[in-house]
């Protein structure tokens, strides 16, 4: 199986690996996928509550190289965007950027789901006003 240069680059030099404080009210956490399916993505973003801009994003992924690359790319794209802009990121954008083959499209879907889950978590925290994190979505 041949990987695109961009997938290889993200796999070899993954951007924004790590974790943010999931208990912080400004951090949204999205965890999607399932161990049985062979891929689990955890994506976190930290939002400036005043401006609504995503100031930091981190990920950890269990999955194939394309899943790692999709989530790594997602964190790059998230930084600097407002929450509303982030919601516009589509899995097809990731597919195009990374030249993912059809068999790997689900990796990009997972990344989009992870973004939505993280933003959902952040919004929930904001509306409830409590620091409750979701370990599994």
């Amino acid at each position: 199986m041949a990987y695109s240069d961009k997938v290889l680059d993200h796999y070899n030099n993954p951007r924004n690996v790590g974790s943010l404080d999931k208990n912080s009210p400004n951090v949204g956490t999205g965890m999607v996928g399932a161990t049985e399916c062979g891929d689990v993505m955890k994506l976190q973003l930290m939002v400036n509550p005043e401006s609504g801009v995503i100031e930091d994003a981190k990920f950890k992924t269990f999955g194939c190289g394309s899943a790692i690359a999709s989530s790594s790319l997602a964190t790059e794209w998230l930084k600097g965007k407002t929450v509303d802009q982030a919601l516009e990121i589509k899995n097809t954008d990731i597919v195009n950027e990374l030249s993912l083959p059809p068999v790997k499209i689900h990796c990009s879907v997972l990344a989009e789901d992870a973004i939505k889950a993280a933003i959902g978590d952040y919004k929930k925290k904001r509306s409830v006003g409590t620091a409750e994190a979701v370990t599994a979505h």
């Binding site: 690996v17 399932a34 399916c37 062979g38 269990f62």
Partner: protein, 404 residues
Amino acid sequence: MKKPVYLDNHATTPMDPRVLEAMLPYFTKVFGNAASRNHSFGWEAEEAVEKARKQIADLIGANPKEIVFTSGATESNNLAIKGVAEMYAEKGNHIITAATEHKAILDTCKKLEKEGCRVTYLPLKADGLIDLDMLREAITDKTILVSIMYANNEIGVLQPVAEIGAICKERGVLFHSDGVQAVGKVPVNVIKDKIDLLSITGHKIYGPKGVGALYVRRKGPRVQLTAQMDGGGHERGMRSGTLNVPGIVGLGEACAICQREMETESARHRQMRDWLKNKLESELDETFINGSMEHRLPHNLNMSFAYVEGESLLMGINDIAVSSGSACTSATLEPSYVLKALGVGDDLAHTSIRFGIGRFNTQEEVEYTADRMIEVVRKLRDLSPLYEMAKEGVDLSKVQWAAH
């Protein structure tokens, strides 16, 4: 050390230069048709074929007349199972096999099921061995064939073949074994193991691709097969088609070399394999061996590296050729059915790697492989949310994952 390192010797092996040497004259100089009975070209080809037949027979304790040449193990398996099913249709229609067999067995059985046969797929114990009591219970008066592989291609587990053979003999049922991974690697003896049909291929024993053999017992009992290809009636009418003389010479030579060198070779492989296993286990936590370590081919290691998905692992060790049981590396996008049959959870099946050490591997290559594996597993665990959760004490089996 030359890279990439090849450690996928269960998939195929490089051809031994001595085998190639033996084959070469039979492409250009001795090119006769082994079935040509009235000139020297034919006689010389036939002589070469008969020498190879003996070399193969000697390796497995058979009589040369019991060797039928085929195009490889898939054909041998098809011929054995379909040939018996058709020939013994009046006696019965029940076949017993196991869930971890090669697809050449399983899919052949599935085909026969569509044609009215009944097939029992025995489950496996957690160590990958079949339960002999279950086998005994599965045999009925309609059973005509038991097909159980000698050694598994993924986990290298050796089945209790001699015991299976004894049970089959006692119950008057034919016993076929897919010997592809075992022949030439561990002692296989069709008399001692009471095997009636044994599949062999060239390319797993440092011989050529596209040539194989089927051992068909001639005495006690005399096994008959319905040919699956019609033609000139070669190979005692069981397999028509002009013999692939250079390939057959290569298969014979490969068997002869295995017979001479098996003892020292398997000891060397076992030492390298055990070194690799110990090194990986001492440097990495949460590794799991798939299948019995005791009943196992000396050159096989199948290990799961929890929390690290197999395809991403292969991507990280891209100058080493190994295989993974991960779904992402299979055509079906399902994790290994062999590991599944052992009760290995999908989560661990996705993290499994198969190492197959071969004749031309060096200790240096094995050490390089261990170092790269350790480095990449550690890197990917740093990237793995599951490893992080496990370290935090989260019981991953209790987490409700969102299916996708």
